[in-house]
Symmetry: C2
Subunit: 152 residues, 2 copies
DNA sequence: CTTGAAGTTAAAGTCAACTTCAAGTCAAGT
DNA sequence: ACTTGACTTGAAGTTGACTTTAACTTCAAG
């Protein structure tokens, strides 16, 4: 049974984040007689999954939904992971495509000095990138530079 | 001289956003005797620039800094725009590269069923993508699906 | 048994970029 | 002059994902 600071160190998440995730129902912890958290080692795998999902841009709501399909202590089966990684790949592809469209628009602007807009692609990305982003918008690419993990 | 609702309609920004931008020093407006805002037409160009910059992922702080180099009523010169668009292109390239690295990591995971992490690239993006993102992290790709503009 | 590091909670704070609200004022057409 | 839609302000609220704080409790080593 791991203490919160051990899990924090090994997962790379702050202890406060671990408590937050517990409140949010993403992870669970047993308690000592005195009420302190004691984690099973499997939580590290779960946290690794959460980190990966966050890196791909899932919200915690989405992560929670995905985790519900992956029963508590079960290691994802090959089938689970195939489905999930396909989904994530699509997300990433969509985000990449949107950024590329934006970049191409920018390229077409370089040297035209336009920014007079109506014609300029750069402030009309709705036209260029419509339907590229999953609808609901706001894709978040979180810090890729965070401290790493050493989980599992 | 344009009213706030005209500028809102033509720029695609909400009136509340225009007021916010004014408080933040991004745009300016003259006032009528009664204190209502009256905008010059050049504000539309400025707002188009702001929208484009936001689409590329600049924060308002960054936009403000950029705008300071582009005196109030001056149309950006070709040199201005060349510099700026080169900078923006780099940003987009970096973001695209980071996402591609993430996707490639994901591809390398498909079928390996790993997520046992320590070895898995997906939760160790720090290793894969270090220095790709401008430092300070958190790149935000805003809704590309927002209503368009009809400025200028 | 004592001590100090590590743990606990609820509640409030943070950040960015806005939006919403309440309570009132202005502008323009009839 | 009246009406009504547009406008004004400051302050507070929103969202997501946490962090921080305050006030206290528990655990493990010595």
């Amino acid at each position: 049974m791991l203490t919160v600071s051990e899990v924090a160190r090994r997962s790379g998440f702050a202890a406060s984040a671990l408590r937050y995730y517990e409140r949010e129902g993403l992870v669970r912890a047993a308690r000592t007689g005195g009420g302190q958290r004691r984690y099973q080692r499997t939580v590290l795998r779960r946290l690794a999954f959460i980190r990966a999902a966050r890196n791909v841009g899932l919200t915690l709501d989405e992560v929670r939904a995905e985790l519900k399909r992956l029963p508590e202590s079960r290691t994802p089966t090959k089938a689970d992971w195939t489905r999930i990684s396909r989904d994530w790949r699509h997300r990433l592809d969509d985000q990449i495509a949107a950024l590329q469209a934006l970049r191409d628009g920018l390229d077409s602007c370089i040297g035209c000095g336009c920014l007079s807009l109506r014609s300029c692609a750069m402030s009309n990305p709705a036209d260029m990138a419509a339907s590229l982003v999953p609808s609901g918008g706001a894709v978040f690419l979180p810090a890729l530079l965070r401290r790493g993990t050493d989980a599992d």
